[in-house]
């Protein structure tokens, strides 16, 4: 069979090729940042018939299937600007659209989660008696922000060795949260590691507020009173979760290190001037 340079294509194949070309052109236009999430596998497409036209008749029913290679809704070029997202907002099992949403949406969602977790943990609410129900939607952004904020506040209030103060505060809080969680696990308690880290971070919020007040008002008596109040508040916030995690005969063993950590942070807040 003499094959020429140009192979006569089936009619529908030409339209398929046109569609593919359009798709390639569209994706080049919209920029390299487009990440299309995985689509369901397309059913077997019609291949370009390169053999003699005699075979064409057999494959023609297949070829009429539109290959679903065109993603439903190619993102309009207008949203190309929002493509470079702060990717931190994607939680587990998030829909693919979180990569293409505006940055403000991501930040707003994280902020609302932080606030709702804060309300659950630190402020009185009916869910406190059942620690499994509260803080189910834990995250680590809140604790991270609180630890950094406390370190920065202490560092601002210090008059000498500012960076060392920040380092000590950050190390104590971060390592302390990990070690406290390990302590509960070693005592035979049942908690989820990251949920406990998240909880201990959120319970720092009262101490953060106390540190800000102490930074503004440098009077020793006021500092003492404020730090004592916030210390009690933090400990009260952390108490139900920790005590529910271990057996009743080891509650004090699990709670004492938590108090120790908060007392030492409270001391840092009072003493730094």
């Amino acid at each position: 069979m003499p094959y020429g340079d140009t192979i006569p294509l089936h009619a529908s194949s030409q339209s398929d090729i046109d569609e593919i070309e359009n798709l390639i052109n569209a994706s080049i236009q919209s920029g390299p940042a487009t990440v299309h999430p995985t689509r369901p596998l397309s059913p077997p497409r019609a291949s370009i018939p390169v053999s003699s036209p005699f075979v064409a008749s057999e494959i023609s029913p297949q070829a009429y299937q539109k290959p679903p290679l065109v993603p439903p809704g190619v993102p309009p070029p207008a949203s190309a600007a929002h493509r470079q997202n702060v990717g931190g907002g994607v939680g587990f099992g998030a829909s693919p659209n979180t990569l293409t949403e505006p940055v403000w949406d991501t930040v707003k969602r994280d902020l609302s989660r932080i606030i709702s977790n804060l309300k659950l943990v630190v402020f009185p609410n009916p869910n406190r008696e059942d620690p499994g129900k509260a803080l189910r939607d834990w995250d680590l952004w809140g604790p991270f922000f609180f630890i950094i904020f406390l370190g920065l506040t202490l560092s601002w209030s210090a008059s000498v060795k500012k960076s060392e103060v920040f380092a000590v505060a950050f190390a104590v809080l971060a390592a302390g949260a990990v070690i406290l969680t390990l302590n509960v696990l070693l005592l035979g308690g049942h908690i989820i590691f990251f949920q406990s880290l998240s909880l201990l971070g959120y319970c720092l919020f009262p101490l953060d507020a106390g540190a800000v007040i102490c930074m503004l008002k440098n009077n020793a008596i006021i500092k003492l009173v404020v730090v004592s109040i916030t210390l009690v508040w933090s400990s009260w916030a952390a108490y139900p979760f920790i005590s529910a995690a271990v057996g009743p005969r080891r509650k004090a063993l699990a709670l004492y290190p938590v108090f120790l950590m908060y007392i030492s942070v409270g001391f840092l807040i009072i003493a730094i001037d």
Binding site: A158, S159, V160, K161, E164, V165, V168, L182, N183, L185, L186, L187, G188, H190, R249, R250, K251, A252, L253, Y256, P257, L260, I263, S264, F267, A271, I272, D273
Partner: protein, 262 residues
């Protein structure tokens, strides 16, 4: 998990950490499973979920992955509140040599860890308070909070509690008698407990009072350690080592006074 430790048959062997055989091994062995004839049940080479009752460090040295799994350290934290309080109270009296029989088959690492951590914080905090009170008597000095106290106290306390028992353990092994590292760590950890109330008293800015307190605390702590070590190494003549431990503990007390409560 509790009943596996309740019926330990080897608690009469002083110095041995009893082997705990888990009741039945899970049939799912990952690809890292070692099939050694000496080990039963065969160990998982990989990560074990916390809460499983395997004891990783009872297996021979080929399976070191147990170091990274929490469940291999759980036996050393198997104490209740009243047990810990009881041991703490007994550590204050230096003239009873029965600490090792009190530990029995259940040496715990909870107390050494948290006693040393508490001591680190208290030394740093109270050291700053003490210097503040001293400076108050001399108003020309400007008192500043010295955060380096935290570094010093952490270094001294943690270093002492980690290194000295380890060195003693190796010394005992070298000299032929059998020691247990965990018990030595436990003993040294509890011996530091008396420094916590002592440091509270050391804040008082009267120099003579401070020296009296630290001498009393130092001798109590050193006496506690050396007496118990003497009963521990009953059959062997290790008097030199016991005396040096006594002196070392005393030296630690002096060091704490000089560094933090000058």
């Amino acid at each position: 998990m509790e009943d596996a430790y309740g019926s330990l048959p080897s608690s009469h062997l002083l110095g041995s950490v009893p082997a705990v055989i888990p009741p039945n091994e899970k049939p799912e062995n990952k690809e890292g499973a070692t099939a050694s004839m000496q080990m039963f049940p065969p160990g998982n080479g990989g990560y074990r979920a916390p809460g499983s009752s395997n004891v990783g460090d009872e297996q021979p040295a080929t399976s070191w992955a147990g170091v990274f799994s929490i469940s291999s350290y759980t036996p050393y934290f198997n104490v209740d509140t009243d047990v810990v309080v009881d041991r703490l109270m007994s550590s204050v009296y230096p003239l009873r040599g029965d600490f090792f029989s009190k530990i029995g088959a259940n040496p715990d690492l909870y107390a050494p860890v948290w006693i040393s951590t508490t001591l680190v914080f208290m030394l740093a905090a109270l050291g700053n308070c003490a210097s503040y009170l001293m400076k108050k008597k001399d108003p020309s000095h400007q008192w500043l909070f010295d955060v380096a106290y935290f570094n010093w106290s952490a270094g001294v306390v943690y270093g002492y509690v980690l290194i000295v028992p380890a060195a003693s353990y190796f010394l005992l092994q070298y000299l032929g008698s059998n020691g247990s590292l965990i018990r030595l760590w436990c003993l040294w950890g509890y011996s530091l407990f008396i420094f916590i109330p002592a440091s509270l008293l050391l804040v008082v800015p009267v120099e003579v009072f401070r020296w009296v307190i630290i001498l009393l605390a130092g001798s109590a702590s050193a006496g506690f350690i050396s007496l118990n070590l003497r009963t521990y190494t009953e059959g062997h003549d290790l008097m030199v080592w016991v005396v040096s431990v006594f002196l070392l503990q005393f030296f630690l007390a002096i060091l704490l006074k000089v560094l933090f409560f000058a």
